[in-house]
């Protein structure tokens, strides 16, 4: 069968190959019995039965569902905390909670909603949905999905437990120093936040790496980037923002935790630090975070609105441009959270204008959505109702956002209930409503069942009325001067009524959410079987049985079979790489831009490794939390051992014949390619890592230029010794880079093994030399400059250690016969990492050298 179907009217969003460049050369595989294929694939792809399945699953469907279910539980908990807040504020002298507990509760409400509900929810949706809309069988790194989930679960649980123990974080969800510093928060409350959230953020980084690589490489054959479903663009934007947005927070958290634990002064003004450094790092993350949350939700809207209006989206190109615009602009806005900290007027103007500008790409999307509805024939189904809830809420949230971008008004409204109202309008309007639309829309695919009753509509109306009743009046409360984060207001009778109104309606809101959850549970438990493709959507996610099988597609979509209509052909194995004839979990890897098939990846299967790794990482965080710093090296050793095992199951010691993906289309397996998924993952990781490093350099620059308490006291660095050791370390790292190249070049010869050993030796020399520099440094507790030098050195040391491990991996590959004419093992990733370690270490050495010289 060749691609002779005429382009469908839904061309831009869905049909992928109607253009002249379409690969008409991919022929159909011979049809087979769908049931037999299903059995064969299930055998390979299914989770193990019972408890082992719980602990060992790495399948994106399972992990995605877990993420979403867990996020929902956290949403419920955050919601209960919100109810406590509202109960306390219902009366001016609320003595329902004491102030200390109240502070914990609003901090935990914000923290849970942002880090344990919103982000994991979108990660879960992305993991579950992405392979289905792109036409793949799984995400690029299944084990990483599972690792992320366990880190999220363990970290989130720890944070929750702290609330039960009465030692929850209590400095507000943005944890401003010095409030969150050792002096003003002597207990472990702040450590719980810093360590717990960093632990949870491992899952965000894992998701970011994996979503990026999946979108760029795990699409259907012939699905060019420029024609992928819009959700792909949205999630690509999201994941890139996560790669670049989370590192500032992670760096900030590390610095603050090191300050709290070891008294290195990054934020202490008396010793050259500056509390504003925390604010910059936090909002450098915090503002993009809001768009990270919004983009996937907007992606759901751009997917649902056209389908539920029976027409293609109005402007594919305009939407893609707005997504890119949002990604770009959102990194230039963070200062609008800091308009009142004393920023020079010029900068205020600039950031104010940039903040207002971000409304443009948002407005473009809103008008595209409305225009799409004009063009089509919208139907008021339950998902559409939630879409209307989105418009009703988000438009106003966007408008108050523009108001807050205007500096003089911001000075009045900042830190008042007006901001609380605004942020809930955008978060509930821009995230929760679209997510409810998405969940009600995809429930049939998720559960295989159709709705039972009209409860969903009732829930919707309760939520809309409850929400606006709670938050609309809060704009006024704020303008009447009520600050946020206060627990009593005995002297302000004028705030009593609006607060009472908010509190009463918040009960309605809570009832609405409870009913929503009940409705979903009813559907999952008692709904009748849904018919296939119940919304008559043209998109690939519906080209599969309901509920979606673990492997998604019995054969993979390609030209001519890239729409929901291809369901039967794909189930019969007429697409690419049908079944699992080799007993592996195989999926297609394509070239990033064109979508031309490149190779077939055999993905890892059920394993305990992610859980075990998350557990040892957790032990590290637990030791830090308990203040047992001397024991942390044990945990680090355990982590290294685990990570070593991850590498050990990659690679192969023999050559595999190419896979016949389709008649006449023989593709190599991933072991025989250089640019594998793993290589892409390494590049993505380095992008995040480089952002972290850039933020660190920003920190050095910011403190030396802006912070009071500089210049630093005279340096006691022994110039000659430090220079000599640094040069030795750099030379060793350079030698490692040369060795990595040689190993890859000589991979087929016996020389590879000793060369790799040279790399290991060079790495060890670098590690020892860098450790030696450590002894020459001034006491990092003396001044921020010395503390930052300590961090720069720590960064170099960590990277040198990892580079050495990669060298060792390459050596082990050579020894195990995993290198060959086309098999490169870990060598390419080693080389990448080694070069990066060399470059950053050299930059750090140069920076310190300059500081010394000036």
């Amino acid at each position: 069968m060749t691609d002779t179907t005429p382009p469908s009217p839904m061309a831009p969003t869905t049909a992928l190959h109607s253009g002249p460049e379409a690969e008409t050369t991919i022929r159909a595989n011979a049809g087979q019995r769908a049931l037999r294929l299903h059995r064969e694939l299930t055998e390979v792809w299914a989770d193990l039965p019972g408890l082992r399945g719980v602990f060992m699953s790495v399948n994106h469907g399972t992990i995605g569902r877990r993420f979403m279910a867990t996020a929902f539980v956290f949403f419920a908990i955050g919601g209960v905390l919100a109810m406590l807040i509202r109960a306390q504020l219902a009366t001016p002298r609320g003595d329902f909670l004491d102030t200390a507990l109240y502070n914990q509760i609003f901090t935990m409400h914000g923290t849970i909603m942002m880090f344990l509900f919103a982000i994991p929810m979108l990660e879960g949706l992305a993991l579950w949905l992405l392979p289905k809309i792109l036409g793949a069988r799984d995400m690029a790194f299944p084990r990483l999905s599972a690792l992320g989930y366990w880190c999220y679960l363990f970290g989130g649980t720890t944070i929750l437990l702290s609330l039960l123990a009465g030692v929850a974080p209590d400095s507000g969800w943005f944890m401003y120093t010095p409030m969150s510093g050792r002096v003003h928060t002597p207990g472990i409350n702040a450590d719980v936040w810093l360590l717990g959230i960093t632990f949870v953020e491992i899952s965000a980084m894992a998701a970011a790496v994996e979503i990026t690589v999946t979108i760029l490489r795990c699409r259907a054959a012939g699905m060019a980037l420029t024609r992928m479903p819009l959700m792909g663009w949205y999630l690509l934007g999201t994941s890139v923002m996560m790669l670049v947005g989370f590192p500032p927070l992670i760096l900030g958290s590390i610095l603050l935790e090191v300050e709290r634990a070891f008294d290195w002064p990054f934020f202490d003004v008396a010793r050259g630090g500056d509390p504003l450094l925390w604010q910059h790092l936090f909002w450098l993350f915090g503002h993009p975070e809001v768009y990270i949350i919004f983009l996937p939700a907007a992606g759901a809207l751009s997917t649902l609105i056209p389908i539920l209006s029976r027409t293609p989206i109005l402007g594919y190109g305009a939407v893609v441009a707005s997504v890119l615009g949002l990604v770009f602009l959102s990194f230039g806005l963070w200062v609008h959270h800091m308009f009142a900290v004393g920023i020079p007027n010029m900068a205020l103007g600039l950031f104010s204008a940039a903040s207002a500008l971000v409304a443009v790409p948002t407005a473009v999307q809103v008008f595209v959505w409305i225009g799409t509805m004009w063009k089509g024939r919208p139907e008021l189904s339950l998902p559409m109702l939630h879409v209307m809830g989105f418009f009703l809420t988000f438009v106003m949230g966007g408008l108050t956002g523009v108001m807050l971008a205007i500096v003089p008004f911001n000075w009045q409204a900042h830190d008042t209930a007006f901001v609380t109202a605004h942020l809930h309008y955008v978060l509930i309007g821009g995230f929760v409503f679209p997510m409810m639309a998405a969940i009600t829309y995809w429930m049939p695919l998720l559960s295989g069942r159709w709705r039972v009753s009209g409860l969903g509509e009732a829930a919707f109306w309760l939520i809309v009325v409850g929400f606006h009743g709670t938050f609309f009046i809060m704009h006024l409360t704020g303008l009447l001067g009520m600050p946020r984060r206060i627990d009593i207001y005995p002297d302000n009778p004028e705030w009593v009524l609006p607060n009472l109104v908010s509190s009463i309606f918040s009960m309605v809101l809570a009832m609405g959410f409870a009913l929503f959850a009940f409705d979903i549970a009813m559907q999952a438990l008692f709904g009748r079987r849904s018919q296939r493709n119940p919304w008559q959507a043209p998109t690939l996610d519906w080209a599969m049985a309901l509920p979606a099988p673990a492997y998604n597609f019995a054969s993979l979509p390609g030209p001519g079979k890239d729409e929901a209509g291809a369901l039967l052909a794909l189930a019969r194995g007429e697409g690419l790489v049908p079944g699992a004839p080799r007993g592996w979990r195989e999926t297609l890897v394509v070239e990033p831009g064109t979508g031309r098939p490149d190779h077939v990846a055999a993905l890892p299967t059920n394993t305990m490794l992610p859980l075990a790794t998350a557990a040892v990482i957790g032990s590290f965080f637990a030791l830090m939390l308990a203040g047992l710093y001397v024991l942390t090296p044990l945990a680090i050793a355990a982590i290294i051992a685990m990570v070593w095992r991850w590498g050990a199951v990659m690679g192969t010691d023999r050559d595999h014949p190419p896979v016949e993906a389709a008649p006449g289309l023989a593709l190599p397996l991933h072991w025989h390619r250089r640019t594998t998924l793993a290589y892409g993952g390494a590049v993505a990781t380095l992008v995040a890592d480089a952002t972290l490093y850039a933020c660190l350099i920003f920190g050095v620059g910011f403190l030396s230029v802006v912070a009071p308490g500089w210049p630093a006291p005279p340096s006691g660095l022994p110039a000659f010794l430090a220079a000599a050791l640094s040069c030795l370390a750099l030379a060793a790292l350079l030698a490692g880079s040369v060795a990595a190249r040689r190993v890859e070049a000589r991979r087929a010869s016996p020389a590879a093994r000793p060369t790799a050993m040279i790399g290991v030796a060079a790495g060890l020399v670098a590690v020892v030399a860098l450790a030696g520099v450590g002894f020459a440094l001034d006491d990092p507790r003396r001044h921020a400059r010395d503390a930052l030098r300590g961090v720069l050195l720590g960064f170099a040391l960590v990277h040198a250690v990892i580079a050495t491990l990669f060298a060792l991996r390459a050596w082990a590959d050579a020894r195990a016969g995993r290198l060959g004419a086309t098999r490169r093992g870990a060598a390419p990733v080693w080389r990448l990492w080694q070069d990066y370690a060399l470059a950053t270490t050299a930059a750090s050495a140069l920076l310190v050298g300059l500081q010394e010289a000036l």
Binding site: V269, S322, A359, D415, L480, D487
Partner: protein
């Protein structure tokens, strides 16, 4: 909509909508203009949305009207106007070097220490009460010795943070003699809710009797 109840509901000792100084007045004006604009835009967007349900499909403006026309053109026009207006207001309310009266506010958990010219012109240090003459712009130097606080007198103007290690300056002015309330707007720990203060505005040259004020506000001079 319930957002604009009777104007009476807008007054209050901490209300930004009941300005008693030039800066607060300009900002309140900005707010009313923005509210009007936002109401119009909201109505417009909701009307477009409603129309989507009632009109015949497939006839209507083409893509560029929605994206470039409404999305970019309309939005940018509004934004340029608004940002310009914001700059104009901003220019009028920031501190400048014109030899205005200088007072200072030093924050610590959870009280304010003010330094201002006293009855005899010599610096007077007070706790939680700030004395300023009416009708005269003044610059207030805001500092903190522990955590971050924020100085805010809603009826006089916007807030400014008190950040350890730096001195921030805000320009304010009170129109007429009277008593205004102020508070700490940045979360600063257990005492945040009660970190209030009072601003006493007196007729230039008629410094009030401190003990009278103390009786009235309950604060110690």
């Amino acid at each position: 909509m319930v957002s604009v109840p009777a104007l009476a509901a807008c007054s209050g000792p901490l209300s930004t909508l009941d300005p008693a100084g030039a800066s607060a007045g300009l900002i309140a004006g900005l707010w009313w203009v923005m509210l009007l604009g936002a109401a119009l835009i909201t109505t417009f967007v909701f009307a477009l949305l409603l129309l989507a349900w009632w009109r015949k499909p497939a006839v209507g403006p083409d893509e560029r009207v929605w994206t470039m026309g409404l999305g970019v053109g309309f939005t940018l026009t509004v934004l340029v106007g608004l940002v310009g207006y914001g700059f104009w207001v901003g220019e009028r309310i920031v501190a400048r070097d014109d030899g205005a009266l200088r007072v200072s506010a030093h924050a610590r958990q959870w009280e304010w220490e003010f330094t201002q010219p006293g009855p005899d012109g010599a610096p007077l240090v007070t706790q939680d009460v700030l004395y300023i003459p009416a009708g005269r712009p003044f610059d207030i130097e805001i500092t903190s010795s522990d955590v971050i606080h924020s100085f805010w007198v809603p009826r006089l103007g916007g807030k400014m943070d008190a950040v350890p290690g730096r001195t921030n300056v805000a320009r304010l002015m009170a129109d007429a003699p009277g008593i205004h309330e102020g508070l700490c707007a940045e979360f600063c720990g257990i005492g945040h809710s009660v970190m209030r203060f009072t601003v006493v505005v007196y007729e230039e040259g008629a410094f009030p009797d401190l003990s009278e004020i103390a009786a009235e506000t309950g604060e110690q001079p």
